[in-house]
């Protein structure tokens, strides 16, 4: 299982703050994004290739190539706007 978190606009548009998912052959964050995209509708729109999506693995910035393993915490969020 992995833990997935969504923040800010993503959380609002998806109506989901977090979910648990079976790894099920997903070997990288890119695989996971494709799986989320496959849900269609707002998921497909937010996580399309041309969208600016930031991601973190275990609270550290990551990218599509970052590998996944059971127990990981993955987060997706729009470009940050703090400061």
């Amino acid at each position: 299982m992995i833990q997935i978190l969504f923040f800010a606009r993503f959380r609002e548009e998806l109506g989901v703050a977090s979910e648990q998912l079976e790894l099920d052959g997903l070997s990288s964050i890119g695989d996971l994004l494709e799986a989320l995209c496959g849900r269609g509708d707002v998921w497909a729109r937010l996580f399309a290739e041309d969208q600016r999506v930031m991601m973190a693995l275990n609270q550290k910035l990551a990218d599509r190539n970052t590998p996944l393993k059971a127990g990981d915490e993955v987060a997706f969020f729009p470009p940050v706007t703090g400061g």
Binding site: L5, F7, R9, L61, A75, F77, P78, T81, G82
Partner: protein, 153 residues
């Protein structure tokens, strides 16, 4: 001494600078950046601001940025404070204060930390205008600022 704080409570920038200085007579320079909530953004009057964050990761991200600044430059002390939750115009949003023996290092470290915070730390601003709420868009100029530190300096 380095300190990073993410807090819902308001903070007093002057107090933070006093804590940073702590009467240390070896400090020659203090450079401070304060980011404040403006009452206008993109031409619209903004009534209030809500800052969402990723608890746990924000602290780590800021700590990593502060560590990186310490490895790049010889600085003595560093304090970073960032508000989350509800803010009003003129409220300090963020403070980055750096003390060093000489000024160049303090300027570089302070600007480096705020530049990286702007593009790497998981905070998101949502503002309330007369037309309702809206998420603030990231600015391209912030990406450019971050990139400049990466192509060797």
């Amino acid at each position: 001494m380095n300190s990073v704080s993410i807090q819902a409570d308001p903070f007093d920038p002057n107090r933070e600078v006093d804590l940073l200085r702590a009467n240390d007579p070896s400090i020659g320079a203090v450079v401070t950046f304060i980011g404040l909530m403006r009452d206008i953004n993109e031409g619209d009057r903004v009534e209030s601001l809500y800052l969402e964050h990723y608890p746990g990761m924000t602290e780590r991200a800021l700590q990593r940025i502060v560590d990186e600044a310490n490895s790049r430059w010889e600085i003595q002390h560093c304090r970073v404070v960032h508000r989350v939750g509800a803010l009003l115009p003129t409220d300090p949003i963020v403070l980055v204060a750096v003390a060093s023996h000489h000024r160049k290092e303090a300027f570089l470290a302070c600007e480096f930390i705020i530049d990286f915070l702007k593009t790497k730390a998981p905070f998101w601003k949502k503002e309330t205008t007369a037309e309702g709420e809206r998420w603030v868009d990231a600015r391209e100029s912030d990406d450019v600022a971050t990139l400049q530190w990466q192509k060797g300096d």
